[in-house]
Each structure stands twice: as structure tokens, then as C-alpha cells.
């Protein structure tokens, strides 16, 4: 019994928060400001508690498994959700259904936790659904905007389709191997066409969730239509979780098919980077711009995944950690601007530095980090991804990745230039920043600066990887 509580601690904690919120909803309810503060405190506590008392082991007939690396991955996601809760404070305070928003978001997070810990294909399927469906509801949270409903609709339809393919793949695997347990599958993989087909169907589900080209088409519409808090959750937390699971699934369960998935990952990575870059190059809307740039970032994550080594796992976790800081900082500032003025176009950002130096520096830091300019953490993140990818041997592939990194420099710097250099007669006026938001932005900024410089973080992650 004790084992149960300790091993499932991350999930139970999130579930507890959800239940607290549900009970609060039953009564008369608190004012939004108090409720938000309570949520933030609960999330801080949840995050802090995530560092201690982590156990290894499995439960429910291997349905559920956990170890130190998974606990770390879950807590990185916890930290990301906490940052989101802090960053969009002002928006949340005005949000009509704050309780529901967090219940849905945390349910999705709960799904991701189960996904990370799943040891069985059924568990895997259930948790991937739990992680997706609440987000579709979240996408609809701009109740007065049609574009938001459209986003939700597109998301739920596309993911239903993807789930169908995934379920098909799972049943084929069951048909071909007679088992659903991850630990049994590798030994039973014999390379029959049916199995490969099944594996590829399974893989498309990951590709869909991570918005790898050509499974990415829903991304831009959904990102643009959703409230910015949801967009950042989708593009950072959700992608991070799926990347973690993809690594362990490919490395552990489908290790015998390494030759197949190496080529697949390589091709998809190249296509994804190029497409993401080409589209990001011409976006005028900052949110859409971040959406496409995040597609390009996924291409880089795939470079790290292709390495098929402990270094690969480490560099992916390390990169996601940095990516959370960098991308959330950018989304946070975009959210502030959009909430205060309704402006989202990059041209509107011209001369922003004159009026809002603090926010400008945060955006510049985050974009430098996303572009991988030293000495920001993003540079080290990409460096380690490329190094671990290079260990797998295809230098042409790494070369293409490096060229894409240079292309991406151009469009990230375009935004920085608009903010710092371009003149504007009527720049965006000074924006008041809520203290909580300021704290979150400072955390992100220091994360961007420090994560790269403090080299033992990488080694610490490496020590946990197995």
C-alpha cells in the first residue's frame, strides 16, 4: 500500500489538486484572484514536493512503472505548468471559468504523467487520450471568438483520426505478438511486414502529437486560435512530454527496429526543420511565428533522438528543460502584449524597446536561446543535441541540421531587430506587469542564462538516465 502511494506520488499529487479545485467549485466559490493565488501556491508546493521522495518500481502488473528519470521528467513538466500559471496571471484573473481551466489543464498533465509511466500499450492509449481531449476543450476557451471554436474542433477531429490510426497499430501489434506489455514486446519483434506496419502506425501518433511534418497541419490553426496560455501549454508541455515518451519507446520497446526508425527519424527531422523554417520565415503574426518555429525546434529534437544512446536521452531532456524556459518566456511576453493591447503582429513590436526595456530584454534572451546563440542555454541545448546526433554517424544529416540552425537565426533576429532597432512613431505603450508575471519572466530569463553555464545540470541529468 505504501509503495502505491510513493510510486504514484506525482499522479496522486496532481489528482489531489484537481479534487481540491472540484470541491471548491461545489461551494459558492472564491474570487478569481484568491483562487488563482491558491492554485499557484498548490502548484509551487507540487513542484517542490516533486523533488523528494521519488521511488522506483512498478505497479498493477507492469501497467505502471516509474524510476528516477521519469520522476525528473514529470517534475520538469510540473515546473513548466507552474510557470504558465504564473505567466498569464492577468489573463487568468479575468478568465470566466478559471477552475475549469485548471481542472482541464491538470487533467491533461495527469494524462502525460501516466503516459510517461505507462508500461503497457493499453495504458499508453488511455493516457494519450487523457492528455489530448482536455486540451481540445481548453482550445475553445475564447468563448466569444469563432476562431477559438474552430481550433478546438480541428484539434478534436484531427486527434480522433490520429487515435484511430494509433489504435489500429496497437491492435496489429497485439495480433502479431500476442502481448501488450512493453517489456515483452522487444523479444517478439521478428520483422514481419505486419509488425513494421503496426510500428509505423504507432509512430504516426507520436508524429502527430509532436507536430512532425507532414502530420503537423493542425498545429498552426490550433495555436493561432487558442488562448495564448493554451498555445504555450500545447507547444511546450505537451511536446516535451511526447518527446520524453518517444525516446523511451524507440530506445526500449522498438530497439530491434533501430535501422528502420533511424532512417525515418532522420528523414522526418530534415523535412520538419526545413518546413518549419520556411513557414516561420514569412509569418507576420507572432503567435503563428512561434508555432512554426516550434515545429522547426522539434526537428532538432529528432536529431538528438536519432542518436540511440544514453547521450541522446540526456540531451533531449536537457533541451526540453531549456526549451521550456525559452519558449515560455517568449509566449509570456506575447501574452502580455496581446492582453494589454490586442496586438500580435511582429510589425507592431517595432520600437518596443523604447517603452518596455525589461520585456524587450526577456524576448531577446528567449529568441537568442531559441536560435541557439551562445552563451545562452539554447546554444548548449542544440550543441548537445547535435553532438549526440553526430555520434550516430551521418554527418550529412548533422550538416543539414546545422544549416537550418543558421537559417533560423535570420527570422529570430528579425523579431529582435524590430524590437530594438526599427523606429516607430507610435510604439506599444508601457505595459504594467503583474508581480507574479514578473517573477515568472525573471525565472525564465535566469533559466536561459544559467542552465547552459552551469554544466553539472547536464551531468546530473545524465546520471539519472538509464
Amino acid at each position: 500500500m505504501n509503495d502505491f502511494f510513493i510510486r504514484m506520488k506525482p499522479e496522486l499529487m496532481i489528482a489531489a489538486v484537481i479534487f481540491i479545485l472540484l470541491f471548491l467549485k461545489l461551494g459558492k466559490g472564491l474570487s478569481n484572484n484568491k483562487l488563482l493565488l491558491l492554485i499557484q501556491i498548490l502548484l509551487v508546493w507540487n513542484f517542490a514536493f516533486g523533488f523528494v521522495m521519488n521511488a522506483e518500481g512498478h505497479l498493477f502488473n507492469d501497467m505502471y512503472q516509474t524510476n528516477a528519470m521519469m520522476s525528473l521528467q514529470k517534475n520538469i513538466l510540473n515546473g513548466g505548468v507552474l510557470l504558465i500559471a504564473l505567466l498569464f496571471t492577468e489573463w487568468f484573473q479575468k478568465c470566466e471559468h478559471l477552475t475549469e481551466f485548471f481542472i482541464l489543464m491538470l487533467s491533461s498533465l495527469l494524462g502525460m504523467f501516466f503516459l510517461i509511466s505507462s508500461g503497457n500499450l493499453l495504458m499508453f492509449y488511455l493516457s494519450i487520450e487523457l492528455a489530448t481531449i482536455p486540451v481540445a476543450a481548453l482550445a475553445n476557451f475564447h468563448f466569444d471568438k469563432k476562431i477559438s471554436s474552430e481550433a478546438a474542433m480541428k484539434m478534436i477531429l484531427s486527434s480522433a483520426f490520429s487515435s484511430g490510426v494509433l489504435l489500429f497499430g496497437i491492435s496489429l501489434i497485439y495480433g502479431a505478438t500476442g502481448t501488450l506489455r512493453f517489456s515483452d514486446i522487444p523479444a517478439l519483434l521478428d520483422g514481419s511486414a505486419l509488425q513494421i506496419m503496426a510500428f509505423i502506425f504507432l509512430f504516426t501518433a507520436f508524429a502527430f502529437k509532436m507536430s512532425i511534418v507532414p502530420f503537423h497541419l493542425w498545429t498552426a490553426d490550433v495555436y493561432e486560435g487558442s488562448p495564448i496560455a493554451v498555445t504555450s501549454f500545447l507547444s511546450v508541455i505537451s511536446k516535451g512530454a511526447i518527446a520524453f515518451v518517444l525516446v523511451s519507446t524507440l530506445y526500449k520497446v522498438f530497439q530491434p527496429y533501430h535501422t528502420i526508425w533511424y532512417s525515418m527519424v532522420m528523414i522526418l527531422s530534415i523535412v520538419t526543420m526545413i518546413t518549419g523554417n520556411l513557414f516561420a520565415l514569412r509569418q507576420q503574426n507572432f503567435k503563428r511565428f512561434l508555432a512554426f518555429s516550434s515545429i522547426a525546434q522539434v526537428g532538432f529534437i529528432l536529431v538528438g533522438i536519432s542518436s540511440n544512446s544514453i547521450q541522446g536521452t540526456t540531451s533531449v531532456i536537457y533541451f526540453i528543460l531549456i526549451y521550456i524556459f525559452s519558449n515560455l518566456a517568449a509566449f509570456g511576453v506575447a501574452g502580455l502584449i496581446s492582453f494589454a493591447t490586442g496586438k500580435e503582429r511582429i510589425d507592431d513590436y517595432k520600437g518596443f524597446y523604447k517603452t518596455n526595456p525589461f520585456l524587450s530584454w526577456i524576448v531577446a534572451l528567449s529568441l537568442f536561446s531559441l536560435a541557439g546563440i551562445p552563451p545562452t542555454a539554447g546554444f548548449f541545448g542544440k550543441l548537445f543535441l547535435l553532438i549526440s546526433g553526430a555520434a550516430a554517424g551521418s554527418y550529412l544529416f548533422i550538416g543539414i541540421a546545422a544549416i537550418n540552425m543558421i537559417i533560423s537565426l535570420y527570422y529570430y533576429l528579425r523579431v529582435v531587430r524590430a524590437i530594438f532597432m526599427d523606429a516607430n512613431e507610435r510604439p506599444i505603450e508601457k505595459i504594467t506587469i503583474h508581480p507574479m508575471t514578473r517573477i515568472a519572466l525573471i525565472i525564465c530569463g535566469s533559466g536561459i542564462v544559467l542552465t547552459g553555464v552551469i554544466s553539472w545540470i547536464y551531468d546530473a541529468i545524465k546520471a539519472l538516465v538509464n
Binding site: I200, P214, S263, M264, S455
Partner: protein, 644 residues
Amino acid sequence: MPNPTYILLILLLPLASFLLMGLLGRSYIKNASGLISTAMLFVATCLAFYVAYGYFFMYGNVQDVYQKLILFDYTWLEFSKGLSINMGILLDPITAMMLVVVTLISLMVHIYSLGYMKGEERFAKYYSFLGLFTFSMLGLVVASNIFQMYIFWELVGVSSFLLIGYYFEKPSAVAACKKAFIVTRFADLGFLIGILILSFYAGTLDFNTLVQRLTSPASMGLKTAVASSFLGISALTWGMVLVFVGGAGKSAMFPLHIWLPDAMEGPTPVSALIHAATMVVAGVFLVARLFPVFAISAPDALHVVAYVGVLSALFAAIIACTQTDIKRVLAFSTMSQLGFMMFALGVSTYGGEGGLGYTASMFHLFTHALFKALLFLGAGAVIHLVHSNDIQHMGGLRKQMPITHVTFLIACLAISGVPPFAGFFSKEEILLAAFQHNPTIYWIALLTSGLTAFYMFRLYFSIFWNKSYHSHSEYHGEGGFAMMMPMVLLAVGAAVAGFIPFGKFVSSDGKTLISEFHWQFSIAPVALGIAGILTAMWLYKKQNSKPDAIASSLNAWYKAAYHTFYMDELYLFITKKILFNVVGRPAAWFDKNVVDGMVNATGNTTQIISEKIKGFQSGKVQDYAIYFLAGAIALAVCGMYIWM
């Protein structure tokens, strides 16, 4: 063993001062910021003395050899086994000496600035920059890893850039700080390539290992480095010369010196700290740090060091004779003295009697820091009173500023090599080392040393004697206690530092070097020095027309020297005319036609693609599903193909 915490504290205190003043200075601490920084630096200086004392007298010397101690080592970024960037502390005689020099001069400048910079609007920012500079310079001298040194090397460059450009409302200051930054950046590129070459052959970035691998004849790295050659010169020599280029940039060696005179646009105490005593000796320090490799494995590179050094010394001394801006004279004199230190290293050999040049160079670095900082501080006091840098606006100041007068005189005597002041001993050793190893260099150096005495006393007589002083503004004294105290302390140092038996502490191989004093040898330099002083006295003590007459009789030569031999114009010609036309134009054409063309093509392609994929990103979910399926099928086909 010593406690590394003390050395770490020496570094961290200035850093803390930088952060504190930078973050809180403007709004919270304001005028107290100077006092707080000074107090922090005072603690750091005491610790530095304590560490140096401990090293030289207690634990540093094991069986008559001074050890190279690694007190702290932290792997910061590991590339592969053995090749990593570490952050560490290497304590050896020159590090211990530099710790003392840097903290001491920095402390003096901190105190002096309390008076000199009083009432400046950005007072706290000034102190925060001083803190940053001190921190980076200390990081540079304790570096145990050549890449660590490079990082701090750049940091030193950045903080010097910030300090030169402190008066950023003056366009000339902005131009000067840009020039300093860009010129040294070019040199640093050489340094970086040098580091890459050395680390490639040695397989390490760690100083001790690198020196050991590149000097022991049995090591593979050394053999390949010597065997592989480019343009007939071995890779090792290339590497060492490139490293020296980096050092030459920082130490303002000819022809990379052009930034130093302009850098005088910064506040005068900054010049005392950065451009006299600390940053500019970084290049000398670098050569000294890698000295065993230079001396044992790459003697050709060492010859380059020697000749560049001696030519810079002579060249700068000639220019210094003609300048009329007090700080520019001092700048060229600094360059000349740095040349002395460089060629002293250049004529030295490793170990034993032959290592005299090394000891002499470090000795001169030490004494020069004292008297040159003093000269700059004195010049600052004069400028403070006269409100002009031009010596033609000065004269007869000895009555108005007696303390400055005496301290300045002591410093001038020291730099001219008049016994028994500090400069005499160190310069004598340098000349002796040159005499023993390379007569050509010795004769040039002897001439330069005579010139040194001449231009320094030209400055001295023009400021303090010559015409009588009439003030345009009200006489407001010499400057307060804060300004006089550091000058008096440094003057004491400049007077007595020569009696330190330096060879006992600092030598190329760590063993005690007993340098004998040959009084017969000293006759020529001292006589020449005194002749220089007397000439200056004859020409400049009283206002007369002799200097102008001489200048006009040497018209072309004088003009050339006055315009610093048109070096700046040459650079301008090279950059504007040659670089612009030969490199810039084609590059612009390439940029316009090829790069822009490619970028436009990318843009157009993107446009075309986006036109084509309007259906691709149509906004219709059913289409998305089709592409999803198509992707899945393509993957399946691809997967099957690979597997079969």
C-alpha cells in the same frame, strides 16, 4: 597547503562589487558606492598580500623550487577525455606577483577615484565597471586553463571597452572605445587560432599539461607539431606566433598599438589601472605563462617576440618625444616599456643563468606598474587642476602642487633608470640580459633608455617648470587626501621596490636565480639617462625657442614622429582604400548579387511553395487527414524498403 577560499574571495569580492554597484548603485547606494567598493577591494588586497606572502615564504617553495600549484579545478565543459575547459586556479610565482599588482593598483585607483570622480553623475556605474575589470583581470592571471584565460581575456577587453567609453557623450571617447575593442578583437582572433593549434597538438587545454607535453622531447604531440609545417614554418611556431599576436594586441605592440593612445579618452584613473599597470601587461603575462614552450620548443617564435618588442620600444620612445598631450606621452611611454618587457622575455632562455631575461621582465612589469600608475595619477591631478591635457597649457606648477611635483619627479627618476629608484634595477637587469644574448637588441635598447629619460623629463620640466603658471580659473588646491594618499604610497613603492631580490622569487624554472650586480655595466645606461635628463633640462626648464628651432630643423622627421609616423593614416588607408576597394567592393557585389539573390530566391521559393501548399495548409480538417494518411503510407513504404 593553502586555502583556495582566499584566492576565490580575492576574485569574488570585485565581482560582488560589480554586481552590487551595477544593480543597486544608481538607485540605492549612490554616493556611498565608492566607499563600499573601495572597502571590498581593500579586503581583497589584504588577502592577495596574505596569499602571496604564504606562497613565497611558507608553502610555495619545496626543495628550493617554486611549485605550480593547482588549488581549485572545476570541469566546466568537457569535449572529450582530457580535452576540457576547466575553471581553476593556478598559483605560481608570477600569479602570486600579479595578484598583488592587480589588487594593489586597483585599490589605489579606487581610492584616488573617490576624489577624482566626485560629483560624476554615473559614479556608481563607474565603480561597478572598475569592479568588473578587476574581477576579469584577476580571473585572467589565476587561469589554469588556456581557454579560461581566453574567456577572461575577452572579459577584460569588454570591461576596458566600457571604461574607455565611460564619457559616452563625447564622440571621441566612443570612437576610441570602438577602436580599442576592434583592434584587440582582431588580435584575439589570432590568439584563438593559436589556442586551437596548440590544443590540437597537445590534446589538452590545461596550462601545466600543455606546457609539459609541448616541452618534453619524448611527447608525441610535440613531435607532430614540429614535423608538420605550413609555408616552411612548423605548426608549433605558427601556433606560438599566433598566441603572441593576441598578446601583442593587448600589450599594444607595434603594429597593433594604434588603439592605446586613443584609449586615453577614458577617465585618467582608468588609464592608470588599465593602460599602465594591468590590462596591457596581459600580453607579457601570456608570453611568460607559455614561456617554457617558447624557449624550449619554439625559439623562432621567441625571436619574433624579441624583435617586435625592441622595435616597439624604440618606435614608441621616438613618438613620445614629440607629443604634447600629457596622457599620450604617457601612453607611448607605456608602449615603450612594454616593449622592454617583451624583448627581455625574447632574449631569455629557459632555466639557470640564461633565464635572467625572464626574471628581469617580470621585475620590470612589477616596478613599472608602480611608477607608471603613479605617473598617470599625477597626470590626473594636473589635469584636474589645469582642465587641459596639453602640456603647452601647463608650466610652473611646482608651487601649486608640491606633493604631485615630488611624486611625479620620483616616478620620472624611476622610469629613467636613475639609481637607486625602482626602475634602475629592473631596467639594468633587462639590459644585462640583452647584452649577454643579443648585442643588436642591446644597443637599440640602450638608445631607447636614453630617449626614455629625455621624454620623461621633457614632460616633467614642461609641467612643473618652464613658464610660470597663471590660472584662468580659481585655484582649488591639489586635490584632496583621497587623491594624494595613493600617490604618496605609490611613490614610496617606486622609490624602494628595486631592492626586492626578485630573482629569489621569480625565475623561469622556479629555482632561485642569483643575479649579480655589475656596477661597471651600469655606467653606460645611467650616463646616457643623465645625458637625456640634462638635455631635457636645457631645452625645457626655461621657456625658450630652442625646442621649436630643433623641431623645425628636423621638420619632416619631427612631423612624422608627431603624427606617430602616420600609423593611423596608414591603417585608415589600408581599411578605407585597400580593404574597402579590394575586399569590400567584391564582397558587396557578392552580397548584393549572390547572397541577396539567394535570400530572395529563398523568399520567392517560399512564396511559390506557400502558393502551392495553399491546399496543403487549407484549413480543412479532411485535407489534413488525407495528408496524415499519405504521410503514414509513405513512412510505411519507406520502412518496408529499409527493412527488406
